[in-house]
């Protein structure tokens, strides 16, 4: 297996730590006073998303993690797994609920996602930053109210619930920012 020394450390490098695949966010070379040189590293655990600070002795080596990010389109959910396909190779992968995580509630068939693969298996799914989804249920708002103040909950076709302005009606399509889970705009047909 490939290894990296602390001299190779830089943002984005994927390494194995505590048996989990991790991504280096920041790396700083430290040589305190007259003391031993080390690397101070901020690392994201790609399985749990947790960010931790670690230090490594200068020159120490760690195993590389076989992690890559690929653009894939979402095919369908069979009740247990979410299925994705690489549009260039037609290769398909299936991801469980843990890997799909929050992205699951935004995904509509044919959506383009970034799938992070670890040893060929999906580790995490990133939904597109913006998705367009139809409102399937919401309280009828007051006609003519365009202020948007206050808002109301709306259920979307994927089952996700977001707060929308009062003027949004059932069957209308809205644009949602998946990073914040917030309503962004109404989409005119």
């Amino acid at each position: 297996m490939a290894t990296y020394s602390t001299n190779d450390f830089k943002g984005g490098l994927k390494i194995m730590m505590d048996n989990d695949p991790c991504s280096i966010m920041e790396n700083e070379f430290v040589r305190p006073g007259k003391g031993p040189a080390f690397s101070r590293v901020k690392i994201r655990n790609l399985k749990t998303g947790r960010v931790i600070d670690r230090t490594f002795k200068s020159g120490e080596t760690v195993d590389a993690a076989d992690v890559m990010e690929t653009d894939m389109s979402y095919l369908y959910n069979d009740g247990e797994f979410w299925h994705f396909m690489d549009e260039e190779t037609y290769e398909q992968v299936s991801a469980d609920a843990v890997a799909v995580g929050e992205a699951g509630k935004w995904l509509k068939e044919q959506d383009k996602c970034v799938v992070t693969l670890w040893n060929g298996a999906p580790l995490s799914i990133a939904a597109p930053n913006f998705v367009e989804l139809a409102v399937t249920d919401t309280d009828p708002g007051l006609k003519g109210d365009t202020s948007g103040g206050g808002g109301k909950p709306a259920t979307l076709e994927t089952g996700a619930v977001v707060r929308v302005p009062l003027f949004v009606q059932i069957d209308e399509v809205i644009k949602v920012d998946t990073r914040t889970g917030e309503y962004s705009a109404r989409v005119k047909n």
Binding site: G33, A37, I52
Partner: protein, 311 residues
């Protein structure tokens, strides 16, 4: 280009500062027959000729300047290119510039005063400066007494802070443990826009500093921190040849344990100390880092004409 001018101006300020104080500018060899035997310093090695005797690039001009003092020079300063292998990062380039100076009959406190004077010239007369002992700073931030602690206690502290791997970095060395804890949990917490003079180090971190007789014994060493950056290191200098040779031999042993390259002890320095070095204090200040602080640069690359990858 602005930075070329800024560096030239800074050197002018420094030269005028020392001219007024009758401190003599000197130049000493960058290439030497011996090297620093500090376990945490790696010298670049080369040789006089192919298959010839080894030569080393200096890690600081300290040894050569001390030999000048022993030979009877007055107070001296030098702007010196220095080299340290494998040191590269946001605050490190393997080739860097030190301002190093020695003042005869100065105590550590007097020299700290002079460093502060120079920093005020570089930054502002209103620069906030705090002088604090290593013990007070260390104890107030961690609850650990640095003069009475053990490597085990320090590593337990690091573990509790989420760094159980510290033991792998520090080994059995108490000095390494103190440096690790200081750089991880104290240095980043120092207040910004304030210069810290940290003084009176634990004996195991004495390096080339004199020890005081009090109890607990401390080393007459100080470091300067500004905006969380380590800027300078100074000593009231050890002038005892025998003691210095003992410390060097201890260093050599530690190098062997750490499987570091073997380096020759500077016998010329030992001989000079034996012949008699006058009482003095000396300090080395990183000029590239000073430039970084003056120009608010976030990386040393911004203040170098060409960092090592492009040199």
């Amino acid at each position: 280009m602005a930075l070329l001018h800024q560096r030239a101006e800074l050197y002018q300020v420094i030269r005028t500062f020392f001219l007024k104080k009758h401190v003599l500018e000197v130049e000493t060899p960058v290439l030497s027959n011996s090297a620093s035997c500090d376990v945490n310093l790696d010298s670049f090695a080369t040789s006089l000729r192919k298959d010839g005797p080894s030569l080393y690039l200096q890690t600081s001009p300290e040894f050569a300047m001390k030999r000048l003092l022993a030979a009877g020079s007055p107070c001296i300063y030098q702007i010196a290119k220095s080299f340290r292998q494998a040191e590269r990062g946001r605050f490190h380039n393997p080739e860097f510039t030190l301002l190093e100076w020695y003042r005869l009959n100065f105590s550590m406190a007097e020299l700290m005063g002079e460093v502060a004077e120079l920093l005020r010239l570089c930054f502002s007369a209103e620069l906030v400066i705090e002088t604090i002992s290593y013990h007070d700073l260390f104890f107030s931030m961690t609850g650990i007494k640095p003069h009475a602690t053990t490597i085990e206690q320090l590593m337990d502290y690091a573990s509790a802070q989420g760094n159980p791997e510290a033991a792998n970095i520090c080994g059995e060395s108490l000095a390494n443990g103190l440096d690790y804890v200081f750089s991880q949990y104290i240095q980043p917490m120092l207040l910004k826009e304030r210069v810290y003079f940290v003084s009176d180090y634990p004996v195991c971190m004495a390096m080339l500093a004199k020890l005081t007789g009090d109890s607990p014994q401390t080393a007459k060493r100080f470091e300067v921190y500004f905006n969380n950056v380590e800027l300078a290191n100074g000593y009231e200098e050890l002038t005892d040849a025998e003691l210095q040779e003992m410390r060097f031999r201890q260093d050599i042993k530690e190098r062997e344990l750490a499987a570091k390259d073997e380096v020759p002890i500077d016998q010329n320095l030992i001989a000079a100390l034996k012949a008699g070095m006058p009482a003095c204090s000396g300090v080395a200040l990183g000029l590239d880092r000073l430039m970084m602080l003056m120009s608010q640069a976030s990386s040393i690359d911004e203040v170098l004409s060409f960092p090592v990858e492009r040199a």
